[in-house]
């Protein structure tokens, strides 16, 4: 298994800094997502790692070895393109065996490896088909088999699921995870879909305007986002900005207590609270007793019902919008126009950089 590192990668495209001193390590055998909006540089970083484009500065290392100047065709990477890029004039089998032949594996050995890869992606029996005769999901599997059959040093996935419809995408996420675990390949996965990044990744690196904003496990980033961008790009968040005091932030909505380290007293500070961390207590609610440190008043503006859960939009005393996610375990506690109390623990008031 290969540890892949990008060290202070810089890349300019037509005078625009697409990657700005990006350093990130991809752990052996794990799946790391590069998550960011379009234009954040995530695909460029993937292409630099693969050798599809040369960086203007910095190094790419595979197990400590500098491969920056190794050309694409000798770098031994497996790439799944957003468009799949299957060779239309070749059968499924010919597509998959192509890379093996290029690396000197021929005959019976190549046939066996191809069969094994096709079995892994569950396409056995479709060897003689042409890409055009396959469904989108099947094409995707061929692309994956073709990329992993050569046992590449790193598997690169460029938004491979974005062309599939929602249902198929969810199935393929699970499949992709299984195949990645079975193959044990160090994997870099580019996506702009936060849900995909959360479900698939061992680790996530969030990119914004050519810089890594935060990296860590999905759980760590979700629970402890460092910036407003990270908090809002991975998941949803309510933000409260005000002046730092002892153990809390004095905001227009009231004093909000936090368990996290604050900037110097008197300076500006922002707190992020995930929508599902907040509890709603209606005026008629019996169990208003709570151990939560934070309690604020708000008026229910709208309730968006989504089956298992509801998103409740509220207006705080200062007019700011607050979003709360509740499980629909019982009949709704609140109705639009009703004044309610919101409560949450100081441990869920995450201090972030604005």
């Amino acid at each position: 298994m290969v540890r892949v590192e990008a060290c202070s990668i810089g890349k300019l495209y037509g005078g625009v800094l697409v990657l700005d001193q990006v350093s990130v390590a991809f752990q052996p055998g794990l799946l790391t997502s590069l998550l960011g909006p379009s234009g954040s540089g995530k695909t460029t970083l993937l292409r630099v790692i693969g050798g599809f484009v040369a960086p203007d500065e910095g190094e790419i290392r595979f197990n400590g070895e500098d491969v920056t100047s190794v050309p694409l065709w000798r770098r031994n990477v497996g790439m799944v393109f957003q468009s799949y890029a299957l060779f239309p004039h070749m059968t499924v089998e010919q597509n998959v065996v192509f890379g093996l032949n290029r690396r000197g594996v021929r005959g019976e050995a190549a046939r066996k490896e191809t069969a094994r890869a096709l079995e892994m992606v569950r396409l056995t029996g479709l060897e003689r088909r042409r890409p055009k005769e396959l469904s989108g999901g099947q094409q995707q599997r061929v692309a994956l088999a073709r990329a992993i059959v050569t046992n590449p040093r790193v598997l690169l996935l460029d938004e491979p699921l974005s062309a599939l419809d929602r249902r198929l995408r969810q199935d393929m996420q699970i499949e992709l995870r299984r195949i990645q675990r079975e193959s044990g390949l160090t994997t870099v996965f580019v996506t702009h879909d936060q849900e995909e990044a959360l479900t698939l990744s061992d680790s996530v690196a969030i990119l914004d305007r050519g810089k890594i904003v935060q990296e860590g496990t999905p759980g760590a980033i979700y629970e402890r986002p460092r910036t407003r961008f990270a908090a809002s790009f991975l998941g949803d968040a309510n933000f409260f900005t005000g002046r730092a005091t002892q153990g809390g932030v004095e905001t227009a909505a009231g004093l909000i207590l936090t368990g996290y380290a604050l900037p110097p007293i008197g300076t500006s500070a922002t707190i992020a609270v995930r929508p599902e961390k907040m509890k709603i207590f209606g005026a008629r609610s019996a169990d208003f007793e709570t151990s939560d440190e934070n309690k604020i008043q708000a008026v229910v503006a709208e309730i968006v019902y989504a089956g298992a859960v509801s998103t409740i939009l509220l207006k705080s005393a200062d007019g700011g919008q607050i979003k709360v996610l509740t499980q629909n375990r019982e009949m709704s506690l609140a109705a639009p126009g009703e004044c309610v109390s919101l409560a949450w623990s100081a441990a869920h008031s995450v201090v972030i950089e604005d």
Binding site: G50, L72, W73, F81, H89, R102, R130, R146
Partner: protein, 259 residues
């Protein structure tokens, strides 16, 4: 509506093919004066065999058409590759400059070529005809093969390279096979452009060296003979055969793609 469509189609086909059918029929007719009924005869083909200027012009026409097709396709394909796949200064301008020659009347291009060829010392003759036809055919070739290249995803070559192909290997294994139908279409088009060409050929040929259309034109001015029907019939057969071969080829390409 369907009946109307059928009539429309029949009218079009009639106007397209009836004159040609008459010409072919008369090539095999004994009479010189288009008299009916047709008396089958190969007389005009025999006479044609003795008509040295017409035969020599036919030879020139075919020679130039084949050479034009080969040279214009090779140059045009390379130009299209550069225009579609490379980033360089003046690319957009170059692409725009390809279009006007298609729209400029041949009479004007022919005059300009004649003046230019005299000025540079290239003069007239077979070589001048070839240069002129190649220059004329290249924009068509670039347009056709360029369109073919656009339908090919650029990431196919990247995929091949990530699997261990060098850029050259990737081009020959992936791009070229997929590109071949449009290259063949362009070659055929260049051949047709050259074989069809009259105005420019008229300017660039010398009294001794001309092409078939030019020679037919001068013969008609002297007085029409059914030998022209005969040679036209032969050319018709050759070009029909070429079109047929091409249709087979591109059909194969289609089958390769879909099944």
């Amino acid at each position: 509506m369907i009946a109307f469509g059928r009539i429309y189609l029949v009218v079009i086909i009639t106007f397209l093919y009836l004159p040609i059918a008459v010409m072919v029929a008369m090539a095999f007719n004994e009479s010189e004066l288009y008299t009916l009924p047709i008396e089958p005869s190969l007389r005009w083909f025999a006479k044609l065999a003795a008509n040295a200027p017409l035969l020599s012009a036919s030879r020139n026409s075919l020679l130039i058409a084949f050479a034009t097709s080969a040279i214009a396709t090779a140059l045009g394909a390379m130009a299209a590759l550069a225009l579609e796949r490379r980033q360089f200064r003046g690319r957009t301008l170059l692409r725009l400059l390809l279009l006007p020659p298609i729209a400029i009347p041949w009479l004007i291009i022919g005059t300009a070529m004649l003046v230019f060829f005299f000025w540079t010392g290239i003069g007239r003759g077979l070589h001048a005809l070839l240069i002129g036809h190649v220059a004329l055919a290249i924009p068509y070739v670039v347009l056709i093969v360029g369109a073919g290249l656009q339908t090919l995803q650029a990431d196919l070559e990247e995929a091949a390279m990530s699997l261990g192909s060098t850029p050259v290997h990737a081009f020959f294994m992936i791009t070229l096979p997929l590109w071949l139908p449009s290259v063949a279409a362009a070659a055929l088009f260049a051949f047709a452009v050259s074989l069809d060409q009259f105005v420019i050929s008229y300017f660039l040929s010398t009294p001794g060296v001309s092409t078939l259309p030019v020679e037919i034109y001068s013969s008609i001015r002297k007085g029409f003979t059914p030998e022209i029907n005969a040679i036209s019939t032969i050319f018709l057969a050759v070009s029909s055969a070429l079109i047929f071969v091409f249709a087979q080829l591109s059909n194969l390409g289609g089958k390769r793609g879909s099944g």
